[in-house]
Point group: D2
Chain length 337, copies 4
């Protein structure tokens, strides 16, 4: 087993910088040996104060310089395919921030490359599976004490979106997590996606229709609805209500001190995804590091990345058609069964 996993982090933007800090201060058994970003200044800032972390403009240079046991990809999705193929060739563990790639066709090429390698090597950054609430809900559902799962009511609310956040990103960057959650909680593939566009919020930027409601079905007929509302202003909220044959389960409720003052009783809303999922990110990266040191994958794999990419494609089509769009998947290779 690798004593200390030396990681090249590719992409020194917000997520990349967060992961660099996380690995340095909270992850056991790993260290950041390289920070890769075409913007070398940004890479340098992210690497500052990390002993042993060197800065490179490309992953190849980092690899050539030695000291790279594993890769964490935190670049935009359209850059993933090339880096994934390269890391598969080098046969080193990869954690790929979602999405695996932006569409089903490119994701399938990654699947094919990993099959050639003959071993699962890619973990995809669906961190919700490492959130305590989602994990408990999965246990409750799969435990079977409450009968079969029949419906899921999901909500995904952000206070606001960064400039340039398009309708497509609403599916590809936000609802993609719900696609993975639905697959995780049901243990099934998604068979269709539909999108309802109703009255938009005055707080939505031009060109973005917000909120939207995404209707999902799984192969056994579990019905899912997702409220995706990315300019909800009040704060951040991600949660699910599950309807089972013999009970209802809610997750994603706020907690913390409850205060009564000035005629009101209540607490703080979670302000953002860092507060909501910070622990989940820690557990995700630790799980990946622990598995990678044993040459294994410690979370959602490339098939999960491919299947959600296919859902996203259907979701974007459904936004414009208003109709139910079927999700088509290739046959699942032996490697992922």
């Amino acid at each position: 087993m690798t004593e200390n996993l030396k990681i090249a982090v590719v992409g020194a933007g917000r997520m990349g910088a967060d992961h660099i800090d996380r690995i340095h201060t909270r992850i056991v058994g790993a260290s950041v040996s390289a920070v890769v970003d075409i913007d070398l200044d940004r890479a340098g800032q992210a690497a500052a104060g990390i002993p042993g972390a060197r800065v490179f403009a490309s992953l190849e240079e980092a690899r050539a310089a030695g000291g790279v046991d594993a890769v964490l990809l935190a670049t935009p999705g359209f850059l993933h395919e090339e880096a994934l193929i390269k890391a598969l060739e080098w046969d080193i563990p990869i954690l790929c921030e979602k999405p695996l790639t932006p569409d089903a066709a490119t994701s399938w090429r990654v699947i094919e490359a990993e099959q050639k390698l003959g071993r699962q090597s890619i973990q995809v950054g669906f961190m919700r599976r490492f959130d305590a609430d989602y994990a408990k809900l999965e246990q409750i559902i799969s435990g079977g004490d409450l009968g079969d799962l029949l419906m899921l009511h999901c909500r995904h609310r952000n206070p606001s979106t960064p400039p340039g956040f398009t309708n497509e990103m609403l599916i590809n960057d936000s609802v993609v997590h719900e696609f993975d959650v639905v697959r995780y909680l049901t243990g099934e593939e998604i068979s269709s996606v539909q999108v309802r566009l109703g009255k938009p919020s005055r707080n939505a930027p031009a060109g973005q229709h917000d909120p939207q409601q995404v209707l999902i079905e799984t192969t056994s007929g579990v019905l899912v609805d997702v409220e995706i509302f990315v300019n909800a202003k009040f704060g951040y909220e991600v949660g699910t209500q599950a309807s089972l044959e013999d009970g209802i389960v809610d997750i994603g409720l706020d907690h913390g001190p409850v205060t009564r003052t000035a005629g009101r009783v209540g607490g703080d809303v979670t302000p953002g995804f860092e507060e909501r999922f910070g622990d989940a990110y820690d557990r995700e990266i630790q799980s990946w590091v622990d598995a990678a040191r044993r040459d294994e994958v410690g979370g959602p794999n490339a098939w999960d990345g491919y299947a959600t990419a296919a859902c996203c494609e259907a979701g974007v089509k459904a936004q414009s058609s208003g109709e139910k769009v079927a999700v088509e998947l290739n046959e699942k290779p032996e490697l992922y069964r």
Copy 2:
């Protein structure tokens, strides 16, 4: 003003008997003077112990015998039209348990009869408008502090259904309340209804597909989804989550003592509609009595009954087609504006 409103209750089944007891023990300014039921034994049992309450096989006999100032209709919906027309002819106040009538065409005939009378005289038994939570939610929405309403997520869960409860009754007897709630909360008419049938519960009786999800749109584009789950076993639950531009509001949560014992913390689920809406029924009947004593209507009117009947018709069609079905309404008469 009538000192004491003498009411003929028509129908001595469960709802009728409840209303008779309610008027006798909790409603001020009214008394039950007649109990009408073709089953005279049942009528007699319901009237037992109510001073001054006489028993009749028909409303005409009760009226002819004197001492009937107002009518409360608690018979099955298909019997409503005839009784409503009669009471309109007699020009006496009517409280009609939902539905007004089973379909839009017959409801429209009632509307026409009331227009001839030239005065609103019929109140329809949508008691949720008298529930403290729904009333507060309506105030929050119409108050405007949280911006425009964009979505409503409704849940309507019963522990089980009586024998013979069909798919159509699921719309006509249960979702009908949600149609009224949506109209009440939005102040708009409903423009379309769609129904999703997914995986059914093993607890649903033969011939009934349960749960279902009903998708509703209003004229301004507010999106509504209703989980209607009438064999949910765990207990009774009716509530709504409203998504507004600047906030989210939940109603219908359980309350009462919170107990920690044997590894669990929590409270009792509301067991049934009597516990959930008992106070609302009291307030509804009192509001009707108070208004009727002044020859006014104290709640939802015949137009509300007609409009929800049209929604129910669309809903039943949507159950079999799976498609979005438009709700068509006649022009609203001056009397109800």
Copy 3:
């Protein structure tokens, strides 16, 4: 049974006026026939719009004028003894707002007078016994499923106090309810009272030490602590946490719509006792009326009034001594066993 109980309400201040309105608009089987207040203008205002309600400066005049079947006492406590003795002589049902009288000695004289009558005729206005939460807690405790009751943690918080609200009133007007609640929930008498005076709030008026903590013990050794905080500003809160051998139970939590907006999640705090206990007052008065029509008592009796008066005396002593003060009671007469 009296068809319609004609009530003389004595005292037309806030509580009296509330009860007059309550009896007129929400109580079945009773009416206000007389409003008695030395301030005839105030009496007249309270009686306005109540058909058949006449105005008198004294209870004797009201009685002499005829049409008084029962008395509801809503005057300050120091005026109770005389009116109670009179009504006992007339042998008519009495609802006496708490306290029965201001001290144990005068309460005992009332007890003696009622014994002479030989029938329980006085009900004392401890309305909390008619609150749904307290009633459920009493059932949970006496049901025995959670083992014996060991401790009670009580809180009694008001937003502010009217001018002239003294330290003694803090015991006699507020904690008196907790004395009754402790006796109701334990089914035991209180054996001692102690008061802790710590850091006072800057919001307390001069001459009033607020908050205080009252420590109570019952005969079997149940330990009780009461936070009495009458200038708590945030709103109104009355509740209890009960520690039993096999579980913990909380009552008095807020409910109603839950809103998420501007970084906060929560609901409204109950603003005052009318909102918190309005339903309890209705049920209390209805219970008294129903019982009085059958010449019975429908709630806490004169012994409950006497025992709590003794607790209040001990509590006021304990405020100044800081020591544990024993509560001494006469032997319980046969009439109240």
Copy 4:
């Protein structure tokens, strides 16, 4: 700064073994280099699978063997003084599980020894200061927006106690945390302690009076009550309700999925202190390691240990006397101001 802090863990019982696992799997910048226990088998089991961890029967042997940068003391309290004095002589960082020592006199000797060293070197294991809820409550109180703190209502409930858990341990092992919490939240010393013994639970073992209520006062007059109930059966619960001049704050509420099934709504109670304070322990040890690598203390210091030892002494006296017992402290040395 020390690159990697090599820690000798003294005591390989439950807490020691937990800390060894914690340091190995979750703490960055430190490793377990020595496990010290007079029971060498137990030490060996705790060290198994930890690369580089050697086993010793005494701290001196471990130190003599080299590779000990810091000491974590997880032995029973009566063994602490000797080890603390030794580590102070060696001038290496110490984390001492609570209590510092079992009484004020021995704690004061540790204080004197540390003063000789002239530098704070001891951190005491009051992990609650690292719990997110307590930290937020401290911020709310010290932030001042809700006015001054007036009262604290604390609860400390365990499902059951191990064999041999005495009345004194109830103060020294359990309430000791509350003493520290009160000092932490108020920023003041405790001036007196009183103990109320009421009705005991049938679930308490012979020789142990459970529950008890501990009454505490601080120098400014903040009143505190603690329910200490160590055979509460239902689960584990530690929390506090703070009454401030302008608001009330609750911490320690359960969270996680909320389920409705079989007539009940609610969630799991936290089963034990590991689940409740696992994250706090992690943060505590990481804070100590981070500070120790810079030769600093990262949490409560020896003075905190001494002051709480004095409170425990007073508390044990108060258990038998029933009276309020003053807490006497020596003047605070310059080193701790």
